[in-house]
Symmetry: C2
Subunit: 343 residues, 2 copies
Amino acid sequence: MKSMGKPTINDVARLAGVSKKTVSRVINRSPLLNGETRAKVEKVIADIGYVPNVQARALALRRNFLVGLIHDNPNAQMVMNVQAGILEAIRDTEFELIVRPIDRGSSTMLADVKNFLERQRLYGVLILPPVSENDMLAEVCREIGCRYVRMGSTTLDTPEHMVASNDSEVVREAINHLISLGHTRIGLIAGPHGFRSARERRKGFEEAVAAAGIKLPRSLIADGNYTFETGLAAADRLLDLSPRPTAIFASNDEMAAASLHAARRRGMNVPDDLSIIGFDDTAIASHIWPPMTTVHWPIISMARSAALKLLADFFGDDLASEEPSMFPSTLIHRASVAPPRRD
Amino acid sequence: MKSMGKPTINDVARLAGVSKKTVSRVINRSPLLNGETRAKVEKVIADIGYVPNVQARALALRRNFLVGLIHDNPNAQMVMNVQAGILEAIRDTEFELIVRPIDRGSSTMLADVKNFLERQRLYGVLILPPVSENDMLAEVCREIGCRYVRMGSTTLDTPEHMVASNDSEVVREAINHLISLGHTRIGLIAGPHGFRSARERRKGFEEAVAAAGIKLPRSLIADGNYTFETGLAAADRLLDLSPRPTAIFASNDEMAAASLHAARRRGMNVPDDLSIIGFDDTAIASHIWPPMTTVHWPIISMARSAALKLLADFFGDDLASEEPSMFPSTLIHRASVAPPRRD
DNA sequence: TTGTATGCGTTATCAC
DNA sequence: GTGATAACGCATACAA
């Protein structure tokens, strides 16, 4: 009896009276296999509790059954949501999730990622914004032959490599809502330059304002960095203006929460003295007081779908490859918006 | 020239005129090696850009260079913080992080984890609360021979397998602070039964109240589940009481934020009508208005330290094994606490 | 449909 | 100190 330790494919083959290759075929669901043989092998596998060795398999296949998540410090809640979506997609499969944060400013970023992908030989990677907007990164994946799917705020790649939302459109809708309520002095807290999502959201804002024939002084646009602190500074700049804006659209929830914070710090009332709309619909939006009107960004669904796309040829194309590539965001009405106060 | 694709250990051996094993010794820093031979091999490695194949290595060593994170749905911010801490510890090493959420109610949980560990052959795993409190899980790790470090709110294991905080102690301090301000009707929103952290925090609360000679009607303790929604319900129950509590200690920030939400929904003012203290010091605590007094739980440091402990024998014991096992939490004073209003 | 021989790239054994 | 050879456990090519 050589069956020390964990049973291997050899043990199964010996006990079932077949060759290793046959066992291998059973495991990999080869279609051309006698039903009886298959049943016999499967019984042995179940009996002795055989589990294929992933390392050996990875070596032979030159490929791991790991899904990578590449991201560059967007906010915590978003990364968690994405992870939740991916994990939902790979639940009950043999895939596992490996997390890889990178430093988008770093000059060695591309080389780092390349190194990472070559070393780990992942089955595929999901790339989050904002790094997902970097075309060279996608090019690296293609070069190496690593599957990839990018997430973003607008279409960046072909459908099988992309899952996107329609940010500019939904922001237009949000701003129109403010305008229809009577707001004309609306401030924008923009996201960081270079972020496609920031550009798209700003574009939607500017288009809506322009379409309504409202002229937009440059001072009503304050730059933020998607963080609470920069949001606070931007909101303060906006609220120092005279006349003050009666509404603020912040390019993400953190900065929107910061606007609320800044307003209340000055003793202002939301929404009576100031209406606020955020973007993302993260937990904080519904947890703060008053509950905040915001754009629901279907990040979990997007991530799940992206993961399914990534695994399309594993699942056999039928389902996964038909995953949608566009996920419309929607405006969620809560309590941080009201008509402007009559002066 | 057989050097297609990526260079292997064979290429290095051939070019350097030595055997594979010698190259292997260089890679693994074997002490018994001629300095000249080593230099020669290292030059070739650098010249052709050889990188060891992790899959082959994993197969031969029966062990991967992966660190696992096992957790069961604590809040998002906490998981992200832990990931940040781990990633900080393994930055610039060959280790990668693999994330594994599990279902603590599931009857197959232990088997699932065992399966996961046996399949992936991780270098080690970090276990987050509340599952970290499950001794059988640790036993599974030991059985399999997988390194592990548990995180928790009190000592659960030997120092090399444990990183803990002193929850009951710091909660006592927090409650004493309320009492010193003149509060005598203090409500507790407890965490879920079965969570050690919940028990520790409740213990600290009860001890402080008892020590001050305050009698604690059962009605002043409301059960929550560490989620915003259950916090909301618990806070409502507390605020429906007559007389109302003048202060609430919530066992985590989410429930504390919910208490603030509930109070403001009734038109109450925080801290004038109600003082609130939370636990964790997650982002929401400082982002909401008023900024919330809470207990800072040094989760990132704990996670980093836990990861270093896990990698202790890889790094060579000197540094990592001296990582502290106890991380004291501290009370952060912000604006959600004030003396009780005179009736 | 099934079996045989061989490769994947590393580490371990045990000689020299 | 160093090298030949055998694991490690699975998949692929090609035969049968």
